[in-house]
């Protein structure tokens, strides 16, 4: 809500229904170039629905979604099933829907940590390899925004941490905005400029620190929050050691904070009483 004209994707008062039942209601959302925004929330809170609606895969029941004209999206879906009847090498897959040069495909695979997989059949990849191939494919489109729906499902803890580190590096290199949905609250939050806590509507939003201290967030995620916050601090420190201060962190909280406050005030009751209507 800083400068709507600059936003890559924005939504105002977005509601989505599935078979008449409301899944999302009254969601305001915006993501600016280069920003990393993470959507967290319990199962069934409409996280996937939100990003699918933002991409345009689901129609809005009310409200409006605006994407920058000609916006290039790199989408990494939660699950992707490839039919066994379709023979498909990794190299061929990377050339869909736009053909890419072999050298570019190879470089993308190197970048995402799975070099030399071009000749392998997609169906023979492990879960972690496939996630990285999906990311490589998304990156080859030179996206202005990467959208990832629980990209680390099925990865173990070190794999998850490595994946998010990769995402953050990619953001630094390409300047692409990143919007992701995640269950991995602790790891993810460290890398985010802004966290949106969702439960059918926006419960709270702001910097990771603000959100993890918010009563709405604690009400949703309960006892684990204290520990999560400690872990968040730890990972955060570690990141600073590694990145040696790229200086992007101080810039973002400024426009993230006012939004967090706005939501704190307007939605507190909704979250605690589960939106009875």
């Amino acid at each position: 809500m800083t400068q709507p004209s600059e936003a890559l994707i924005s939504a105002t008062n977005l509601s989505v229904t599935h078979g008449g039942a409301p899944v999302l209601s009254g969601v305001d959302f915006t993501i600016a170039p280069g920003e990393i925004v993470t959507v967290v929330g319990p199962n069934g809170s409409g996280k996937s629905t939100l990003i699918r609606a933002l991409i345009g895969l689901e129609p809005a029941a009310t409200g409006q979604v605006t994407r920058q004209p000609g916006l290039v999206i790199g989408y990494v879906p939660q699950k992707l099933h490839l039919d066994a009847s379709l023979p498909m090498t990794v190299g061929r897959f990377l050339s869909l829907p736009k053909r890419v040069r072999d050298a570019d495909a190879a470089a993308a695979l190197v970048r995402t940590g799975v070099p030399g997989l071009e000749g392998r059949q997609i169906t023979r990849l492990s879960g972690g390899q496939f996630q990285r191939v999906l990311l490589a494919r998304a990156l080859l489109a030179r996206p202005q925004i990467l959208i990832l729906d629980e990209p680390t499902q099925g990865l173990d803890q070190p794999g998850t941490a490595a994946f998010y580190k990769l995402i953050e590096e990619v953001r630094h290199e390409t300047g692409a905005a990143v919007l992701m949905v995640s269950h991995d609250l602790h790891v993810v939050m460290s890398a985010s400029d802004r966290v949106i806590c969702l439960n059918g509507h926006v419960c709270c939003a702001g910097t990771p620190r603000v959100v993890s201290n918010a009563p709405e967030y604690r009400a949703l995620f309960g006892m684990g929050t204290g520990g999560a916050f400690a872990l968040y601090q730890h990972v955060h420190d570690h990141d600073h050691d590694h990145d040696e201060g790229h200086g992007h962190d101080p810039a973002h909280p400024h426009h993230a904070h006012p939004q967090a406050h706005g939501h704190d005030h307007s939605h507190t009751h909704d979250c605690e009483h589960d939106h009875a209507g």
């Binding site: 345009g56 379709l86 023979p87 498909m88 061929r92 829907p97 736009k98």
Partner: protein, 261 residues
Amino acid sequence: MLDDFLTRAALAGAGLTLATGPLGSFVVWRRMAYFGDATAHAAILGVALSFGFGISVYAGTLAVALGMALTVAQLSGRGHAMDTVLGVLAHSALAFGLIAASLISGLRVDLSAWLFGDILAVSRADLGIVWGGALLVLAALVWRWQGLLAATVNEELAQASGLNPRTERLVLVLALALTVAVSIKIVGALLIAALLIVPAATARQFARTPETMALGATATGAVSVVLGLWASMRFDTPAGPSIVAMAAALFTASLIFPRRA
């Protein structure tokens, strides 16, 4: 050379496989096998109506096959299970087609020709129509290839990349209707689905990419046509079924080899 009926038959069959190879591959990848059946069965209704109204069989068949294809595409988007929709439409169309055919005097005798095709009776004009239709389908598939393939891999991924999966689906459905219409004289309404699916399934055994599978399906199809025609001459068997039988034999033989991917 075209004076020889056997040459014309082989050319017609080979021409048809230019379309059925790649199109059949999409039918296999998208699990649209039953869709091919439905469109083909509807074609019998088209044949009957063509005779009833005295119009070209190709035109009548194409019209009904198109109507069927578009109806299925519409209905399947509205919450009906795809196989139910296809089952209802395919068999109703076949039943109404057979009834309509029985009401038209003189057609009854010829009906088996439309059900099973009569590739040995292909005329020069038929040859032109088959090649024209097949090349048109092939051109459409080549033109839309990247988009069709992307939408086949995953419709949402394609949509996020800015493609419209509905358009790609429509292209396939129209191509299928056209293919059925031009092939009904060659293999007939009951066997065209086999010519779409069986060679593609055979090619799957050896293919590592979508393109090699499509090319392999065309090659396997063409070989089936030639072998089938030979068997038909040699053993005095009906030509259309012999072609499909050869395609089935090639598929069975391919199972001996381990799948390459």
